[in-house]
């Protein structure tokens, strides 16, 4: 009897909601973003009692999802967002799909109508589980509070293991309210260790690199995710391998590293795509041959053998058949590869790269003038320095930033690469600033993109985050405008805004400090003031609609068929 009493005393008694909150605390989660609603009120009630977790109230669930992404992208650790059932869930799904395509570890916990009402078209009921299957790494519909003790740690393990990705947990309201007793808390979910490296494959890769005359390293987002930026630089330096980076990998190698040949693909510099055209070995590390990077696949690196290393076996041979496919963590594989790769100056290939770089550079017209796209990006970079975190929305401003910004370290660049979601920038920047409060976070945006999640300006004000929104306003959906002009007979339709927003006034209405670059003779001074004082602010910059992102590979064309930036010295063949 006494024994039984003692045992009962040791039991933990919690509601499902309380258990979720405590397990999040045990996972080390200190900030969550979300919006409450009818079906997640028990969870919010429990969350309100947590002394460890700070809740950031977004103004649209998509904003909450991107805030979690911002946190996850700068820390590399899973971050959490919350939404209610029905419209809360459908609103947040875009941010989850975005996390899937860019392999970002996000845990999304949605409320669901009570179990007995599922399938009855209850108020604010949608099939969140069914809708989230193709856009998550994994998802759960929790059927009892006891299941949560398994599901929550598993969700964290899945999100952070192997190729990271989003996990959604749909929790019916009655499961949140159900009281359970259990004797101990489960261990927090952690990433599984990297798979063993196959040394035979590594030896073959080393041989192929040692034998190659014109090799190139092609780095993707996997380099950032696995913390392999430094070792990939060692590899490049030891064997004199020119390095190109995808949009997702910018910052892996500093922009001014002599072996960096910059971003490849649709808006890469001419010399970069030309170098790829000439390479005889492409070493693909944590990249996935995205169509924006490769252009017409059949014509991509036509003379190259391919070594492809990826933690996701499903990426190998998916788009392009590799001569050697290696399933593994890129950092572990590079570590194993380094001692086997011979030191090699590759004078001939490096001088060829230098010649291409000199003759076919990225032409950044207006680089000295902060009233032009490149000039603005470079002026901001000069002021905020290397420590700053840079986010973007999607469109012309994103590509100008990707081309011109002097990235110098990993995990400081947040952009929606795979899904290309307009509206990503501001909430992702807020998330980054929450996770890294000592940093200056700049969000380059366009007028089209900013309007897609402009409500989060008030969240930035409420949380007093150090986010600086730079709006490049050309009164247009600029990249659509550019494509209509170039490829649709200049028939501009639905891409130009007739009514124009006074963004500085709009920001002021949200309670945010704002600046209008049109109202000054000294834009650099205004930028300095905006970017060096603490707290959120918005800078309204005006961009001429005739400004285009060049060079450009027309959609579906080969990378060698770029247009724009033809103003080169064509003295070399």
């Amino acid at each position: 009897m006494a024994g039984k009493g003692k045992k009962e005393k040791m039991m933990i008694r919690k509601t499902g909601a309380e258990a979720i909150v405590h397990m999040l605390e045990r996972q080390g989660i200190r900030i969550v973003a979300g919006i409450p609603g009818g079906s997640n009120l028990p969870l919010y009630d429990a969350l309100g009692k947590s002394s460890l977790i700070r809740h950031v109230l977004a103004r649209h669930e998509q904003g909450a999802g991107f805030m979690a992404q911002g946190m996850a992208r700068v820390t590399g650790k899973p971050a959490v967002c919350l939404a209610t059932s029905g419209p809360g869930a459908t609103n947040i799904l875009t941010a989850i799909a975005d996390a899937k395509l860019d392999s970002v570890p996000v845990i999304c916990i949605t409320g669901q109508v009570p179990s007995r009402m599922i399938g009855t078209d209850a108020f604010q009921e949608v099939d969140t589980y069914g809708m989230s299957i193709p856009i998550t790494k994994h998802n759960f519909l929790v059927r009892s509070a006891a299941e949560l003790l398994d599901v929550v740690p598993r969700a964290f393990r899945i999100a952070s293991s192997g190729r990271p990705g989003p996990v959604l947990i749909d929790v019916p309201k009655d499961v949140q309210s159900e009281t359970i007793e259990f004797d101990s808390w489960p261990e927090p979910g952690r990433a599984d260790g990297a798979p063993a490296v196959d040394m035979d494959e590594v030896k073959r890769a080393a041989e192929m690199i040692n034998e190659a005359r014109r090799p190139i390293l092609y780095l993707g987002g996997g380099i950032i995710a696995s913390g392999a930026a430094a070792v990939s630089a060692h590899l490049a330096e030891k064997a004199s391998l020119p390095v190109t980076m995808t949009l997702m990998a910018l910052g892996a190698l500093p922009h001014n590293h002599p072996l960096s040949i910059g971003m490849l693909g649709m808006h890469g510099a001419r010399f970069t795509n030309m170098a790829l055209e000439e390479c005889d070995l492409l070493v693909v590390l944590g990249a996935r041959f995205d169509d924006r990077a490769t252009g017409k696949v059949a014509a991509f690196c036509p003379n190259a053998k391919i070594i492809h290393v990826d933690i996701d076996a499903g990426e190998l041979h998916k788009i392009k058949t590799a001569h050697l496919g290696v399933t593994g963590d890129v950092k572990a594989v590079i570590d194993a590869l380094l001692p086997l790769v011979a030191e090699n100056g590759r004078a001939e290939w490096i001088s060829r790269i230098t010649a291409l770089r000199t003759s076919y550079p990225l032409l950044m017209t207006g680089a000295d003038d902060p009233r032009t796209p490149y000039g603005l990006v470079l002026a901001v970079a000069r002021i905020v320095g290397e420590e700053a975190i840079i986010a973007t929305d999607v469109g012309q401003h994103q590509m100008w930033t990707a081309q011109a910004y002097p990235f110098s370290r990993p995990q400081r660049w947040l952009t929606s690469g795979g899904l290309g979601t307009m509206g990503f920038g501001l909430p992702a920047a807020i998330g980054a600033a929450l996770a890294s409060p000592e940093s200056t976070v700049v969000s380059f945006s366009g007028d089209g993109s900013l309007l897609m999640n402009i409500q989060e300006l008030v969240t930035a004000v409420e949380e007093d985050v150090n986010v600086k929104v730079i709006v490049m306003d050309n009164h247009s959906l600029g990249l659509v405008h550019q494509q209509q002009e170039l490829f649709y007979g200049n028939r501009i339709f639905a891409a130009d805004f007739k009514a124009h927003v006074d963004f500085a006034a709009a920001a002021a209405a949200f309670g945010m400090k704002s600046y209008d670059l049109a109202a000054t003779d000294d834009p650099e001074a205004i930028l300095h003031q905006a970017l060096t004082s603490h707290g959120p602010c918005l800078v309204h910059a005006h961009i001429d609609i005739s400004e285009k992102v060049y060079p450009m590979v027309p959609p579906g064309a080969a990378n060698k068929d770029m247009i724009g930036d033809e103003n080169y010295d064509n003295t070399i063949a």
Binding site: Y129, G130, I133, P134, K137, H138, N139, L141, I158, D312, A313, G314, H317, K318
Partner: protein
């Protein structure tokens, strides 16, 4: 439906150019959606599906009859990535599990 699944072995009666995939999964609602969704989103037709619990019911076996196609390797890799999939066996020459069911699918 037969409850006793054959050990293995390929049937000569199986439809031509069809491969049978034997997928062992955790048995809970939703697993079928995960597996079938991979095929439907790639417009990859599934010719036949069978699913029954195995062992003590914690797991299920899904039998899929699919067309042999250059994308099949990629499909199998995608299936193997699913959290609830415990294993995938390929029976390139078909499998008698479907052959035995033919009598239930005769047009009157």
């Amino acid at each position: 439906m037969t409850t006793q699944l054959p050990e293995s072995g390929d049937s000569k009666n199986a439809a031509e150019k069809c491969t049978v995939l034997e997928v062992t999964v955790n048995n809970h609602p939703g697993v079928m959606s995960h597996v079938c969704g991979l095929f439907s989103r790639r417009a990859f037709n599934v010719e036949g599906i069978l699913c029954m619990p195995i062992g003590d019911g914690d797991r299920s076996r899904i039998w899929l009859m699919v067309n042999e196609d250059e994308r099949l390797d990629q499909m199998v890799k995608q299936i193997e990535k699913l959290e609830d999939v415990l294993g995938v066996n390929r029976h390139a020459a078909g499998h008698e599990v479907f052959a035995r069911l033919e009598e239930f699918f005769r047009v009157q």
